[in-house]
Symmetry: C2
Subunit: 313 residues, 2 copies
């Protein structure tokens, strides 16, 4: 574990020299990082906590997985806006007794994902933690001016799509909580390429990442767009590990932290079944009425926002 800010800076320098660059001119070593934003782009900023015992447990997940998920949260928000991630900033507080090997492996996981998306870890802060590992990731990205995908553009008649499969994180959490498995690493892949494709093709009318759970995130889109929705249960792509459980559909609907994209597109737009190798599935349609319904076994029932609610869960 770093013993001083200087050592952490040296540590970050050493570790981040591996991550391939990205328009960062200066950074660690000055009071701020300087990041070039391309001409006619605007900046995107997102910050996400990863707190021990709230978002992860060291006894359930490997350090690499915790590092990966810490950055994945931020990258996924950039993906949902159709943006290009440019730099990441990590505030990391560690308990005094954290083994150096744990820290190294946390950075291994975080920097492997950063390298994959050509994002530089350009700065951050450190402290000794008063309790548990505390991380907060900031990701700075950019998007051509006025082109960001928003939550507010869904219109009645639009089709609703999701990337990948849902419920894997929730299924793992349930098995771990019940003591049925001891450790499981789920490594969500932020859908940067799909978000960018949707933005470049001007296809999506709205988008969000599924961090709180499909039901809650769909509710966010409907609220911001002033519309309703109907979802077909049979169409939802449920991850095999959730499908293996009796209530896989509930996990796919309400389990959070899948980091897939949920987006809408006008009926006239043809959406391929895969974009850059990532499966795209149509799961429903936007309606005029301000409620969200689930079609299941021929019956329609209201779909409540039962995903992750910060503070209340």
């Amino acid at each position: 574990m770093p013993r001083s800010e200087r050592e952490f800076i040296e540590h970050l320098r050493r570790r981040t020299s591996k991550a391939r660059g990205s328009g960062v001119a200066f950074g660690i070593g000055d009071d701020c990082a300087i990041v070039k934003i391309p001409y006619r782009h605007e900046a995107l900023v997102t910050t996400d906590f990863s707190l021990e015992k709230v978002h992860f447990r060291r006894e359930w997940q490997s350090p690499e997985c915790i590092g990966h998920r810490c950055l994945a949260r931020g990258l996924s928000d950039i993906a949902a806006m159709g943006g290009v991630p440019r730099a990441a900033f990590l505030s990391l507080a560690l308990p005094r007794d954290t083994p150096q090997s744990w820290t190294d492996r946390f950075f291994d996981g975080l920097l492997a994902l950063a390298g994959k998306h050509k994002v530089k870890l350009a700065g951050g802060d450190t402290a000794q933690s008063p309790g548990g590992v505390l991380a907060d990731i900031t990701v700075l990205g950019s998007v051509p001016r006025g082109k960001a995908l928003l939550r507010s553009g869904a219109r009645a008649g639009d089709r609703i799509y999701v990337t990948g499969e849902l419920g894997e994180s929730a299924a793992a959490l349930e098995l771990l909580s019940a003591g049925k498995i001891r450790r499981r690493d789920v490594l969500p892949q932020p859908r940067i390429a799909v978000g960018r494709w949707l933005r470049e093709k001007s296809i999506a009318s709205s988008a969000i990442d599924i961090s709180d759970g499909l039901s809650t995130d769909l509710w966010h889109i409907c609220e911001e767009s002033g519309v309703g929705a109907v979802i077909e249960a049979a169409a939802i792509p449920i991850h095999p590990s959730a499908r293996a459980l009796s209530h896989g559909l509930e996990l796919a609907l309400n389990g959070g932290e899948d980091y897939e994209l949920l987006f809408t597109a006008a009926q006239i737009n043809r959406i391929p079944s895969r974009v850059g190798g990532v499966k795209i599935t149509r799961i429903g349609a936007i309606t005029r009425v301000g409620s969200i319904a689930l079609l299941h076994n021929g019956k329609k029932r209201p779909l409540l926002a039962r995903g992750w609610q910060h503070f209340s869960s």
Copy 2:
């Protein structure tokens, strides 16, 4: 205290509508905030923790003071680069039993400072804290391309200056720790206007903010610039509350969290005694040799970096 992300968002919306705007087009309500960076500017990013029992104590400081200091840390980093702050992002984890009034007053302090510098609180994250109040502030600013003040430009012969007075935070901390006073609010003012003036006039050869203590922050400048320095003890502007203690000089040299600016300028440049109402004091000179010395009562002794060291103090 907010009961859910939605409520926190509503809370932030309500609270931030008071803060005067700043180029933020969208923000809270989407996955990322969108921030316009002026033409031919580059982005500045800084992140800073404010953790209970590490950076503050609720029993020693008012909620307003804690909120003020949380944002002041980030703004001060932007000031040190000569930048203009554009938007702030707050990740805030609160223990379940935090009174609503505490949270409200924390925001009062933070938003009052934000308003003063026309910075919008444009987003953030929330969580329930596993222990203590945990805050992490990100400030996004901008600076004309290639014009940022860096730590690396000091040259032998340059004069060394500080803004304001030093040692107030350290003096308060000492009195609080010793139980000689029960509460004290120290409200450092980020030197945004001075930093901007130095950058616009192209006067400073290097700059840093005094967050870790004069001795340590001067050491940072010397290290990054590959130079040494001589400081005159009698010239250091010591805050009255530090001067009232027997070792006021030590507090001014090594006490952190003053958030004044330390900068260097070529001998040929005339530096006024005040910039925008803020006192500027010459305290020494940059030397060729790679050591830092203190001239005190006619004697020269090495000045060690004895300010705040993260993790070790």
